[in-house]
């Protein structure tokens, strides 16, 4: 059976390891290398020892929080975390807690970094681990559980993915097939409404999709096919490949270089977000009355994003308050127009223009995060072999 690739780093240290992988270069090099390697190995052990202590101490961390001293919390987030600039001012006014936002690459990068520094985190709270990455982080024991006071107001399906409060669902969005309405109308062809339809000869050479290996919507689309077809998913991709699907590196390349509705490209079907049509309207000058694109609701895979308290934080109580704020109405109502996602808090008011052009699929495709974590590497390898040959 397949084991998750990421084993907690502390377990790894107990395993035998090799040193013979150092590059063998010229003799004059080696003297220096050996010298510095020895020093380095010494330091590394120091570093790991203190890291282990940090992990063991977490249970006592609460006591280190003093009530009077102003606390500064570090909120780690991916590069797409762009709330309104003044959004944390109210939180600071209420609690005296200052929030410092630190961005660290895309979602995959921040989770990988959280995993290698589990127990000795870079910050106090992490924003932006999604259901395709969640188990990788949870298995590496990255988070300290906390059940938010707003729990009952949150999207139940999101909460169900992290039942013990190890993380808190903060927003969700759907990755779906988008199509160019005008292209299909002009040719009097029906647009594809299901994943199965995409394999039909009617849609030969019409689909462009980002690769699951390098793109998060690309990964969601691969998972959608697995959720829809089960073990038959590779056959579907083989048909798709023979039907002329174009796989590119990134979402932006697919959408802005190949999608007929957004570029000079020649493909009227693209893998994108369910919120792409409203964005096409809101970020256009002048604004059209109707979105030029539409979403095939039955092809949607739902992505939930979560926030969690990082194990090893020195400010656990303050971090809990921040989690509460992140799912409060005030913060949640800022999300739709700044990040084009749906709020997790059901009481949050969603702006009318967002509602007007958005589609919220009722029964999106979804997969259990533990299954994703366990089989993701294998699936990606299979995808490489089958589709990217």
């Amino acid at each position: 059976m397949h084991l998750p690739d990421v084993v907690p780093s502390r377990m790894r240290r107990t395993l035998p390891r090799t040193r013979r992988t150092l590059p063998r270069t010229r003799r004059s090099f080696i003297g220096l290398l050996v010298l510095v390697t020895l020093t380095a190995a010494g330091c590394a052990q120091d570093a790991s020892r203190s890291q282990d202590n940090g992990g063991a101490d977490t249970s006592t961390n609460d006591s280190t929080v003093t009530t009077d001293a102003p606390v500064t919390l570090t909120l780690l987030a991916h590069d797409s975390f762009t709330p309104s600039e003044t959004i944390f001012d109210a939180f600071t006014a209420d609690t005296g807690i200052v929030v410092r936002v630190v961005r660290g690459g895309d979602a995959g990068a921040i989770v990988t970094k959280a995993v290698v520094s589990a127990g000795n985190p870079e910050g106090d709270v992490l924003w932006g681990v999604d259901n395709t990455l969640l188990s990788r982080a949870v298995d590496a024991n990255v988070f300290t559980p906390y059940v938010t006071v707003h729990r009952d107001d949150l999207d139940a399906a999101g909460v169900a993915l992290a039942p013990d409060g190890v993380v808190t669902p903060v927003d969700s969005g759907d990755v779906c097939i988008n199509y160019d309405k005008q292209w299909f109308a002009e040719r009097r062809i029906n647009p594809p409404l299901t994943l199965q339809a995409l394999a039909s000869a009617n849609y030969r050479n019409l689909l462009v999709a980002p690769s699951p290996l390098t793109s998060s919507p690309g990964l969601a689309f691969m998972l959608a096919s697995i959720a829809e077809f089960g073990d038959e998913w590779t056959q579907w991709w083989t048909t798709l490949r023979d039907n002329g699907v174009l796989i590119v590196d990134s979402w932006s390349h697919a959408y802005y270089s190949h999608f007929t509705a957004a570029s000079d490209g020649e493909r009227p079907i693209v893998v994108s977000y369910a919120t792409s049509p409203p964005a096409e309207v809101i970020f256009a000058d002048p604004r059209p009355t109707e979105a030029p694109t539409a979403v095939a609701a039955l092809t949607c895979f739902r992505q939930y994003e979560f926030a969690g308290i990082l194990r090893g934080t020195k400010h656990e109580a303050a971090a809990q308050k921040l989690i509460d704020f992140l799912v409060s109405r005030q913060f949640q109502e800022d999300l739709p127009l700044t990040q084009f996602v749906w709020p997790s808090n059901r009481n949050a008011t969603v702006p009318q223009e967002f509602l007007d052009y958005s589609l919220r699929p009722e029964n999106p495709l979804i997969l259990d995060p533990t299954i994703i974590a366990a089989r993701r590497a294998e699936w990606l390898d299979t995808f490489s072999d089958v589709v990217l040959r």
Binding site: S9, R13, G105, S117, E122, H253
Partner: protein, 539 residues
């Protein structure tokens, strides 16, 4: 004497040991098991990917030389007005973040060529014109043309003159430039991913996939070691081939000929063709910044000046609207980092270069060590830094200056490369004369070496600053507080739906191009006043 001169290199060596070697070793010991090594080395795809990395890098080196050599020859052998400006413009590609250049190529190329081997190799050549130009042209400048005439007088044919006189004098510079270009192309990541397409992988792009998409850290680290070994082998092989020419460079008089007559026409053609090729993707970028969807519009630029243009849509301004305020913020962030990185790299590189020059041919190993930052995978280095500097007083994750520290490491090889050849040309007789006149070693260093090196120091600092402005490698793996840097901001805006958002990305890219060109022109104007160190001595 030898011990004394080695001392100057110690800060740089310690710096590299702490911020380059240590993180990689820590990551290695923490994440790699014996089974990872055998797993990676026995996987067939590893060797397929390594082979692709190798041959595409060699092909890219050839393409780079084909593109850059005519201009390099003309600039290296001729004196003409606007020489510095031409050199600045021709170099700009090297300093732009690959996400910007790739966007420019995509804006320029027909859809059919977006993803192709040709586009990928063309982009590699585009990036590296500057390397060939900056490394080989200075050597051409100091080549004594009289030697060729002497050989011809003695009866040597054109071929014989080339193989016996011209090539031996140029060999080291050519091999050095080829080596650097090879390393950059071998470790190429963003270009391969964007223009090479999803079926083409270099070791570096596979490292990123393993580390971030699959979560196989052990495999990623082992792959980065494979990369180091392959590159080191090829580069050392190249150096061994160039070894015979290791005689100290012959100092000759400056014999640049004024471009006139037929040569002026040939030169003009070379310059126009090369600069057109360099400018095309950038002009395509700039034009995109005036387009929203299919219509021409100033909306992108307007939104930069005041938030109004975009905020006119919903009553709450979307955060994506990139205001002038946010832009100034990110320019300040980028600028502050660039200045600190340049200062640190300059101080370290000066010491290192001094030792390399003093040791002469015995300094080759040190010269090689200074190249090491180029061959370490940015993904691996970034992760290594995160697990190494992680607790107590050395928990530096998320501080702004730590990014500058990483940039100083990545920029060090370039600074050393700029300083060493120029320093070698400082006549030792000047120092001797000063010593006879009673100058202390410190006075000699400050009043002779540093003064004569000023243009090279300015150039080195400018290069490190420009690299820092555009860097999207190791530092983008680090967490950053405060305002985003421009390249990160551009990448994020390019990843969003909405015509106006996309136009804003092109506006920012245009701003970045202008900033980089200005920085390079500044460097050139600093260097032009003292176009050659020895000219100064006669003044």
């Amino acid at each position: 004497m030898s011990n004394r001169s080695l001392r100057a290199a110690i800060p740089a060596l310690v710096w590299l040991a702490i911020f380059l070697l240590l993180p990689v070793v820590v990551l290695l010991t923490a994440q790699v098991e014996a089974s990872d090594v055998s797993r990676v080395l026995t996987r067939q795809s590893t060797w397929r990917i390594a082979w692709f990395s190798l041959w595409q890098a060699l092909a890219s080196v050839i393409a780079t030389f084909a593109l850059a050599l005519p201009l390099t020859w003309f600039i290296g052998r001729h004196q003409f007005r606007g020489r510095g400006v031409v050199r600045a413009f021709a170099s700009v590609g090297f300093f732009l973040p690959s996400v910007v250049v790739a966007a420019g190529f995509i804006a320029l190329l027909p859809t059919r060529l977006h993803v192709s081997l040709a586009a990928m190799i063309a982009a590699h050549a585009y990036f590296n014109i500057a390397v060939v130009l900056r490394v080989i042209a200075p050597r051409l400048e100091t080549f004594d043309i009289g030697l060729l005439a002497a050989a011809r007088t003695l009866g040597a044919g054109a071929l014989r003159t080339f193989t016996s006189v011209a090539w031996p004098a140029m060999r080291t510079a050519v091999v050095s430039a080829a080596g650097v270009v090879f390393i950059y192309c071998f470790t190429s990541y963003a270009v391969v991913r964007t223009l090479g397409g999803v079926t083409r992988n270099t070791i570096e792009s596979d490292i990123a996939v393993r580390a971030y998409a699959i979560g196989d850290l052990g495999g990623a680290v082992v792959l980065s070691l494979v990369q180091v070994v392959v590159i080191a082998t090829v580069v050392l092989l190249g150096r061994a081939l160039a070894r015979d020419a290791a005689t100290a460079p012959r100092r000759t008089t400056l014999t640049l000929t004024a471009a006139a007559g037929v040569r002026a026409i040939v030169g003009a053609v070379i310059i126009v063709v090369t600069l057109t090729l360099v400018a095309a993707p950038l002009i395509a970028l700039a034009m995109s910044s005036f387009q929203v969807g299919d219509t021409w519009s100033f909306a992108g630029w307007r939104s930069l000046v005041d938030n109004g243009a975009v905020a006119a849509t919903p009553e709450s301004a979307p955060a994506d609207a990139t205001s002038a305020f946010a832009l100034v913020d990110s320019l300040v962030t980028s600028g502050r980092t660039a200045v600190l990185a340049a200062i640190v790299a300059l101080v370290l590189a000066t010491g290192l270069a001094r030792t390399v020059v003093r040791l002469g041919t015995r300094g080759r190993w040190l010269d090689a060590v200074s190249m090491v930052p180029l061959i370490v995978s940015p993904v691996t280095l970034g992760l290594g830094l995160v697990v190494t500097f992680d607790s107590g007083w050395y928990d530096w994750r998320g501080t702004w200056w730590f990014v500058a520290v990483v940039h100083s490491v990545v920029g060090l090889p370039l600074a050393v490369r700029v300083l060493v050849p120029v320093w070698r040309n400082v006549a030792p007789s000047l120092r001797d004369a000063a010593a006879v006149l009673g100058a202390t070693p410190r006075q000699r260093f400050i009043d002779i070496d540093l003064r004569l090196l000023r243009p090279a120091l300015v150039a080195a600092a400018g290069l490190v600053a420009a690299v820092s402005l555009g860097e999207f490698g190791a530092a983008s793996m680090l967490s950053r507080s405060g305002a985003e840097t421009l390249p990160v901001m551009i990448a994020r805006l390019l990843g969003r739906t909405g015509d106006l958002v996309r136009t804003q990305a092109f506006v920012l890219a245009t701003v970045l191009v202008v900033a980089c060109v200005s920085a390079l022109l500044l460097v050139e104007s600093g260097a032009r006043n003292h176009s050659h160190p020895r000219d100064n001595t006669h003044a």
